[in-house]
Amino acid sequence: MDPDARGRAVALVAAEARESESLDVLAVLERCGWGAMLLPPSWYPAETARALLDQAAEHVHEFARHGYRLALIGARLGLREALERVGLELPPAIDPVSEAELSAYLTML
């Protein structure tokens, strides 16, 4: 085992952005060495979604505090407010249409 194999790069992934016919977000993240934080789907009850987004924001805060690269793939209503509650802004965001576009974006960050 590598002494510390962590890639220091984490993508927040909106549920609705995970898969399409031309794009498998998790496969791209795996190939690029990025971790994934799956955001709650939009149909969850509001109270449950807010609690999960708040906890995701706390994780992002810890990653940001240590200088990890962060990205948002897709969009999630309520995420901006959850991040603001822990003093953060939205990370760089992309709504990719292809695996090549997403891969290039992650490599650039």
Binding site: A9, E30, E58, E62, R65
Partner: protein, 180 residues
């Protein structure tokens, strides 16, 4: 029927693991491939250790985390996770929980345990690192589901550790469980 696996955070994000505990840079592919290849959708539980003790935490055992404050922290997490599980079940989805055996918090059948571990992070030479039983968050989650009158989903813990770069034995165990 939609099938949804609630997975331990680190299965999708090894960055959450303790320094020296990650098996790859990001997504631990073998288990994710197994689940998705069999048509399971993924939902990700928050990492109780990351949220509580941060990225530079030491390796720890269940006894170290088993404090009132950590239990409260876990109950805050599981309140949201149980709400999500309930929402899926109300939709008619099948739900399973995928933990990480050996974890002091996310183990399902095995958890890291040593009553006397503390101080400098060294294991006593003769200590058994693992004990039967769940980690603290999984224990709290099952209790929360019980309190809501929700039958506990089938649950399994995989171990990240294995012989060789791909933990074939654990992946086969997961496949058998999913077929179950």
């Amino acid at each position: 029927m939609t099938r949804v696996a609630f997975v331990a955070h680190c299965i999708l994000n090894q960055n959450a693991r303790v320094a020296g505990g990650a098996y790859c840079a990001g997504i631990h592919a073998p288990f994710v491939e197994e689940l998705r290849g069999r048509g399971w959708e993924l939902a990700q539980m928050p990492c109780p250790e990351l949220g509580f003790a941060g990225l530079n935490r030491f390796w720890a055992v269940r006894e170290q985390y088993d404090t009132l404050a950590f239990r409260r922290h876990c109950r805050r997490i599981v309140d949201a996770v149980a709400g999500a599980i309930a929402a899926h079940l109300q939709r008619g989805d099948e739900v399973v929980i995928l933990g990480v055996d050996g974890s002091p918090t996310m183990g399902v059948h095995l958890t890291a345990s040593e009553a006397d571990l503390g101080g400098r992070p060294e294991w006593p030479d003769s200590a058994e690192e693992l004990s039967e039983g769940p980690g603290i968050l999984i224990e709290e989650l099952l209790a929360e589901l019980r309190s809501r009158g929700i039958e506990a989903p089938r649950a399994i813990g995989i171990r990240h550790a294995g012989s060789g770069p791909v933990p074939d034995r654990e992946r086969a165990k997961l496949a058998s469980f999913l077929d179950g």
